[in-house]
Subunit: 435 residues, 2 copies
Amino acid sequence: MKDNVAVGLLGVGVVGSGVINLIEKHQEKLAHQLGCGVHVKSALVRNLDKQRDTGADMNGTMLTTDPDAVLGDPEIDVVVEVMGGIDEAREVILKAFKAKKHVVTANKDLVALHGGELHEAAERNKCDFYYEASVAGGIPILRGITDGFASDHIEQLMGIVNGTTNYIMTKMNQEGLSYEAALQEAQERGFAEADPASDVEGLDAARKMAILARLAFSTYIDLEDVEVTGIKDIDIADLQYSDSLGFTMKLIGFANFDGTQVEVNVQPVLISKQHPLADVKNEYNAVYVYGEAIGEAMFYGAGAGSMPTASAVISDVVTVIKNMHRGVTGGQFVEPRFKKRLKSDEQRFGEYYFRVHATDEAGVFSRISSLFNELDISFKQILQNPSEDDDVAEIVVITHRTSLHNMQKALEELKNLEQVKAIKSFYKVEGDADA
Amino acid sequence: MKDNVAVGLLGVGVVGSGVINLIEKHQEKLAHQLGCGVHVKSALVRNLDKQRDTGADMNGTMLTTDPDAVLGDPEIDVVVEVMGGIDEAREVILKAFKAKKHVVTANKDLVALHGGELHEAAERNKCDFYYEASVAGGIPILRGITDGFASDHIEQLMGIVNGTTNYIMTKMNQEGLSYEAALQEAQERGFAEADPASDVEGLDAARKMAILARLAFSTYIDLEDVEVTGIKDIDIADLQYSDSLGFTMKLIGFANFDGTQVEVNVQPVLISKQHPLADVKNEYNAVYVYGEAIGEAMFYGAGAGSMPTASAVISDVVTVIKNMHRGVTGGQFVEPRFKKRLKSDEQRFGEYYFRVHATDEAGVFSRISSLFNELDISFKQILQNPSEDDDVAEIVVITHRTSLHNMQKALEELKNLEQVKAIKSFYKVEGDADA
């Protein structure tokens, strides 16, 4: 057993700085748990001259611009990849495994795209590969799913796994801000990037859902299997109707598995105010898990940030070092149990919300409801208001449970009704308003 | 590696039946994860003739009234203790360790009282000892704390860890029921026992908080170190005032640690409606963890019930079997890092709520506030109402932060004020009403 395990760090940005800081700060706690020290021996950076404030003494850490100075160092056992990006990160991680180094990463893009390949490379080289920090920052959700639910069948996952969009939607819901105003506030407060595309279009959430679904359901899910709708086109009117019907609108990652087939998507959803996810506000993240035996469970916390993410990275480093001491690195990974089978739209069920503008004349609502009735879709909640335009009625409906296929067919026919001016919106609904 | 690991079950009650059911039902998932089968070979019961409906085929399981038929069976590697009680359970577990069997238990009373002794016996015999199910049923909170926060300093834990009292208080809060009426409803719906004493007096929660605090702070906490106040004496008037001030009253287990000294207690607390714990309703449990690096995190789910608890038990059995396969059983336990040092009342700080009845005359409030002022306690929120009795004013105050010692001194002096008729209530406050 080594006296002091050397870690090689790839990247000293927001998360990397946190890793250096926490490892220095918590030397005593780490030494107590592990029976040995841990130190960051060297760190790969792009620019040697840049000023860095990690809040910790960097004298002990050699900075280098050469990946091989880290990967080729025989003293280094654990490589922490927090440089971000995809191709270069993939290459250095594969190189690290070849050099028999264990790898911990916070890189969700990489794991979502190349998780399978990286796991296989790790196994081949009897190395550990962990990525707790890649989903929901400091929340120990991957451990929770793989260890805590080991004997349960997870039926469903719902996640608020993107802090930026949850912050924006909280402001839109609570303060009635428009999407643009809420985005601007998020940017000013550091919760959204200058280019917010990957967050607000739902791609970041999709990557995390692919990782979660893969672990929860033991089947490979590719990123392109995740259907994504972002939040940019949300109309404040739908937030107000949601509220008055007993719901809150949130960007929700949804995954379910019936034992054979799987469905994974990210979309704005009307979620019942009674549902635990409805209370997850601002930049916070949460993952709701429904297990056949356990029933409802939820994991809540900070989904991003230097310290929460670094803390998740180091919890993986601790696991790796414990495995090293016990001589059991590698071999954690279990091949997925199920072949990937995606649900078709006929096999996807839900309750749905839609809002239409129709001519304001007698019998219109009855015409609409009989159209749905013919497709066996019945209505659960209905609101009808005269719209600002005097000749137009605004009709809001929440349906009972039906297939997505059926619902899409109904909307198609609705569009062709002479009395219907426009289908303004269409969203999925989760939970009962008065549960 | 064995083809099929034999489990010995001690007790086939609510949780034991769930264990048998889940192990049978999830054979395939368990075999896939473990690379071997798992079966319940024999089970200790009190009465062989009792009808049991485990929802599973019991033919494969031998029932016995003799503990030694389980503990003495060389084929059995893992013993699951779900018989409950303390002395007998302690004895059989110690015997199991002597026979080199790993032990998984759901017995919070036992772990809270004898956890240290049992851990030592496990270590001596190189056996595993796990008890995830002992706190918060199916929620993987013990793993979350020990593994997920491995590199963080946990500063504070707050837990709704007793479903019965949370159900009762939810009904009192939401429907204005009296304590007695809410208890009766809880009993009718199966959320409270016929003799609810250990729940409503806070003892059950205290046991769980002792276990949580021990793991989170790496120091021994004895059950008698946990200060306990139950919910029986809660006046509906205080729930109403809490509500109008922006708080919800809940029975909260509280533990904090400043790096040297520790405080653990269970008491009714006014918790801000903005706090994630305020939304935990009915029989649900949740543990809120504040880590220096991670910040806020919360684990939510079903805190009891046959299936959730059995699922947590089996997740421990899975961990044990994985350890067996890798040859690393025993050695998980780490001696507490810190000597136990409890905070005195001078070192315990908080904001406090109190309600007094005073004579309804000019200058009374000013007299009260100057009394507090002399002790450096200032007021944050104040409500004053004429009481039903015309000559009496009801005064409700939430203070700014002060020491418990100081606060108790102030209440003592208040009691002696001529104008004060009665101190009706006194509670701790967590969080800001308008955070």
